[in-house]
Each structure stands twice: as C-alpha cells, then as structure tokens.
C-alpha cells in the first residue's frame, strides 16, 4: 500500500499546482509563473523546517504567504499585458525564480555538516516527515486534507459573488469593465490566491522529495500547471483533480509497465483526451449532472430523515 499512498501524495501536490492555475485561468489569463510560486513555496518551507526547525504547518503557511506576496507583486506589472504577452511575461518570471535558486546559497553549520540551499547542487535533507515518524498513510491524509480545504474553498468561491466576478472578467473583459469591475484588482487577487495555493503545493513537494533543486521547477512544470485545469475543464474544481489523477495516476504511473512505449503514448493520450472531451474531462454538462446527482442524493437523504 505504501506505493499507492505515495502516488496519492504526488497527485495531491500536482492537484494543488493545477488549482493554483485554475483560479488564474478563470479570469482568462494564462500564467506560466505557477512553477515559480511553487519553487518559492518549496524553498521557503524547506528552509523553515530544516534551518529554523519549524513545524511543517506554520512553515507551509508562511511559504504560501511568501509565494502569494510575490504573486501579488508580479501580478501588477504582468497583468497589464494580455494574451501571448502575458504568457511570455509569466514564463520569464518563472525562469527568473528558477535561476535565482540556481544561484542561491544559504548554508548554516549544524554539527559537522552544513545544511541549506547550495545553488545548482540543490537543497537536501528536507526530512520533516520521516524525522517526525509520519507514515506514508499519515502524509497522504495530510496532503489530501490540504487539497480538500483548497478545493473546497475554490468550489465555494465558484458559487460566490467573487467567483461570478472572476468568470465575468474571464468571459468578456470589456463587458465586465463596463459594469464597474476593476479588472486589475480582480486579476491581481486571482494571481495572489493562485500564488498562495502554489506555495502550499511547493511546500508539500519539497517535503515529499526531501531534496529540491532549480531543475525541478522548469518550464515543463509550468506547462503541467496550466494543463491540469485545461484538460480537466474550467467549469469545476473537480476537473483539475480528475486531470491530475489522469496524468499522474494513469499516464505516468499506470502505464509504466509499457516501458519505452509509455513516453510515446503519453502525448498521444493527452491529445486523444482533449479531442474526446474538448471542454475538459469535467465539462459544464458533466458538472451539472454531478451537481444534480449530489443534490438528488441530498434530497433523498433529507426525505428519509423526515
């Protein structure tokens, strides 16, 4: 079972990465900066648990806030541009963060050894989970609690007034502006929330792998971040979760037995999935059916109780 718990952890932090892009995509913006926020979360949380000896939970919160702050700062200038220009601007930011950590040395002596980030050689021994005796099952439950909280908050947001504002900006900026919506404020807020979620994901990632280095946060990760919500569908947070399970659980791990063929099938199956489900794995119709199903079950339960 240990392997499946571990796989669930991977799907968990990839889901967080996808959800961080989901909220930004709702405003119609394509951000490739999520890998950068993920990296900031990973390094900040790792430094707090390893160098400062913090508990993981406050370290994660600070990591999330740090990434959110950076997202907010980046959001103001970056979101003044749109479309492909924004893609390039956020990609440049992600690469700048990666190169910052490539050159970032901050080591302190702990006993006979030095610990902390060491530029291109990375940051090793982020072993908070095993050092505190957490089993794989406990780590998985923790990761999915965070995912559930984040997904729940976004699900609630989708039904809130602010969610409607985000979608209005995403659907038609001119129309949204004409009814008095401050576009910059909305976009920067979405970017900041996305940064916070990516920071949380990065913090978990660092403690899962125990070693991080700049190469972990490259453009491929940024592409995955936006691929999850696009593949899963932007109508529901569940789409991003389903897409992360599809990619990490099925394409990466499930097809491992195919050996060399796995890499060939990887791209082909994503293309196939997008052709078969052009509006995402959980499109608007599926989301409505699911909502009806749940509400009917809820109604039946209430009837039975009555």
């Amino acid at each position: 079972m240990d392997f499946y718990y571990s796989l669930a952890q991977i799907i968990g932090f990839h889901t967080l990465l996808g959800l961080s892009a989901y909220i930004v995509l709702q405003t119609g913006q394509v951000s490739l900066a999520q890998a950068g926020f993920f990296a900031i979360g990973a390094y900040v949380a790792g430094m707090l648990t390893v160098l400062a000896g913090w508990h993981l939970v406050p370290a994660m919160l600070v990591a999330g806030l740090g990434a959110a702050l950076m997202a907010c700062l980046v959001g103001f200038p970056a979101l003044r541009v749109r479309g492909l220009m924004l893609v390039i601007a956020t990609l440049a930011f992600g690469e700048a963060v990666r190169l910052f950590f490539f050159n970032f040395d901050y080591q302190i002596a702990k006993g006979e050894v030095k610990i902390g980030p060491l530029g291109g050689e990375g940051f090793r021994q982020i072993r908070w989970f095993p050092e505190n005796g957490w089993t794989s099952l406990e780590v998985m439950l923790f990761v999915w609690t965070v995912v559930a909280l984040v997904a729940g908050a976004l699900w609630w947001n989708d039904r809130s007034r602010f969610g409607a504002v985000l979608r209005a900006v995403g659907e038609d900026e001119v129309a949204a502006q004409s009814v008095g919506i401050n576009l910059t404020a909305v976009k920067v807020t979405a970017m900041t929330i996305g940064g916070f979620i990516a920071g949380l994901g990065g913090a978990i990632y660092a403690h899962y792998t125990t070693h991080i280095e700049h190469l972990n946060f490259n453009v491929l990760l940024a592409t995955f971040a936006i691929a999850y919500p696009i593949l899963g569908g932007l109508r529901s947070v569940f789409g991003t979760i389903v897409a992360a399970i599809f990619v990490q659980g099925f394409l990466v791990e499930g097809l491992r037995f195919l050996g060399d063929w796995r890499n060939l099938l990887f791209g082909a199956l994503i293309v196939l999935a997008m052709n078969l489900r052009p509006h995402g794995l959980i499109d608007a119709a599926t989301a409505r059916r699911l909502a009806r199903l749940f509400s009917r079950e809820q109604w039946r339960g209430e009837q039975r109780r009555a």
Binding site: D2, F3, L7, I10, G120, E131, G133, T135, T209, V252
Partner: protein
Amino acid sequence: MRKTALLLGSAFVALAGLAVTGPAGAQERSVVIKGFGAKSGVVRSFGVNSEAAMRAAAELINSQGGVKLGDGATGKIEVEFLDDRCTAEEGISVVRRIASGPTLVAIGPTCSNVAEPLFGVLQKKAGDASDSGLQFPIFTDVAIKGGLAKISEWAFRNVPSEAEMYTSLFSWVKQTKPDLKTIFAGVEENFAHSRATWYAVMKEAAPKAGLEVKGEAKWLLEDTNFAQQVREIKAAAPDILAIAAHPFTTCGVLKEMRRQGVKVKMLIGLTSSSSLETLQGCAREAEGIVIPTSFAPVNQAAEAAAAQAAKFNGSLDLHSAATYENMFILKKLMEEQGVLAKPDTVQADREKIRKGLAALKETGGLLGTSKRTDDREAVKPYLYVHAKDGKWVVLHNPVTN
C-alpha cells in the same frame, strides 16, 4: 457475442499469465532484483546500458546454477528495469513501487539528482524506530556525485571515487608533462554531477598538483550553441582544458573548438564521457582526450563481460560495468547472508542484504578488487584512457605501473 469474446480473451490472458508467472518448483525460487534509471531523454543511453549489463549478469548467474539460498534451495535471479526519466519524483515513486513487491534489492539510479532525494526518503539510520523512512537497500551503479551514500544507511554505491581519480590524474600529468602549467574548465552548470566534479573535485585537485586554474566557461545540458564559451576558452589560452560535461555537450564544445580553430595542449574529460556516445558523436574532435575511468576491457574478465552485455544490446562502460559487478556482489552476499527469498521473508532478507553490504570491506570487480569505505562508498581501481582512432585506448594504468 463481442462481450463473450472479450471475456474469453481476458480469461485466456489471465490463465497464460498464471502459467508464465506461477511458482517454480518447491526447491527453486525467484530472487527479484530490480534496476531503475533513465531510459528517456538525453541520458537515455546510461539506462539502456545498465539494463543490458544487469540482464547479462543475471543470465550468466542463472546459467551457472543461480543463487544458493539459506535453506539449500536454488534461487533464479529475475530482473526488471524501470525508467525514472531522470526525475526525482519518478525515481522516488519507482522505488516505492519496487519496495511494495517481492524485490529484495534495487540497483540504480542513473542520475545524481534522483539519487540525492531518493536516499533522503530512505531511513537515515538503520533500525531507528523514530525515523519512518523507507527500509529498502539500494546499491547504486551510476549516480556518481561525491558523498551521496552517507545520506542513508540503506544506500550503498559501487561508483568510482572521482576525487581520487582526478587527484591521481593531475599528479601524473604534472610528472609526465611538466610543461603544462595552466588549466581552464568547461562546465555543464545545471547537471549535478558535472558541476560537482569541476568545483568540488578538479578545481580542488589541480592547484595541489601545481596547475594554475584560469577559470571556467559555463553552459547547460540542453545547450546546442557553444560559440561564446569557446571564445572564452580561446581568450584564456590554457595548456589544459578540462571538460566537466556529458558526451552530448562535450561533443558540441569540441566541434565548436574545431570550427573556431581553438587548440589546447591537453584535453581532460568527465568520467561519464569515457563512453561509446562520445566516440559516436565526435571521435575526430575528441581525439586525444584523456579520461580516468573504472572500466576498460583490459583483461579477460572485462572482455567477457563486455561481450556478454553486447548480447543484450548494451555497451559496458564505467557505469554499466558497475551494474554488472553489483549483480555478482549481490549474488555472493545473498549466499553468505543466507537469504531465503520467500514471500514471508522479504523484509528480513532486505535487512540481511543491508547488513551484508554494510559489512563489506572489499569486493571483486572487473578491473580488480575495490575497497569499501565506512560511509558505504567504493574505492575502485581505475586507469586513464584516451580517444585514439575512434576507440578508447588505455593510456596509463596506475594499478600495474
């Protein structure tokens, strides 16, 4: 009808699977050893060669009677090689998958950036109940970045000590070619092994041998244009150029040097570049490059091993030769430790293997005996090879000279 055919087909496949994988005779059991490493991307050849070496060794061991198990039964080695795509996430996942089955020990990974996080996931001190890290022995063959095995007591390596090899090489250079006084490096900055080999090994060893370090030009593993870096080499005009890079960018730089007409008196390469890929990629430009390596087919055993690996479409180099050696080391160790290879003794067998590996003081290898250090690393015999007429030829053998 279609449904029935599908059901019948599935049943047939399932029965065939059972027939193939069913338990062997009562006195013959499977000893599962799995390999993992990069079989995709730019370092794919390392994984391909490791897998070939592993299968070659397993076939030889099995044909010679297999492994004698603790209760007198015979164990036949069963191998499988999994691709981790040289990424930490997949490396950890692959090993957790391997550890959740009957595998007794794993050999891998290819990349140091996978080994480093992977060893961190293992229990740091064996038997420490407060540490919930994975308790599974890993015997690394390829990932060569210095000092990694000390991360966990479940991690062991049979990779050469680059510090010793380059220290020895530089003093030999100084003795045999006293006119060479300066050294400049080309470094593949974003690859853990290349970077560590220059900054932590060569750059430290060269001044101790009396060579003046004139700096370094930097590039990335994915780079394909080296014009600027070669101009830097030209400006530094060193006597020796040390290229701390893998075959792909090593060849790129050497070709650019030829294009710009840049020549140095001596070329020194990274251990991992003493492979067939370098010669396939740029034999002409690499002519004369000197590399210390822990493998060359210089004796009967090494020649036989290389021929055996070739049967499995692989080539034996310093990395895959270690894979081959690991299989024989593990076979001997499992016999000495009385491994049972039964479904209910998997974890006990893993602990026996860990203890056995930790107790090793020396091991047999294709070039001779290797010493084992207290921090679970190897000190392997080595020699210097140079590229000559499209082949790796032994230039100097410190063991016999």
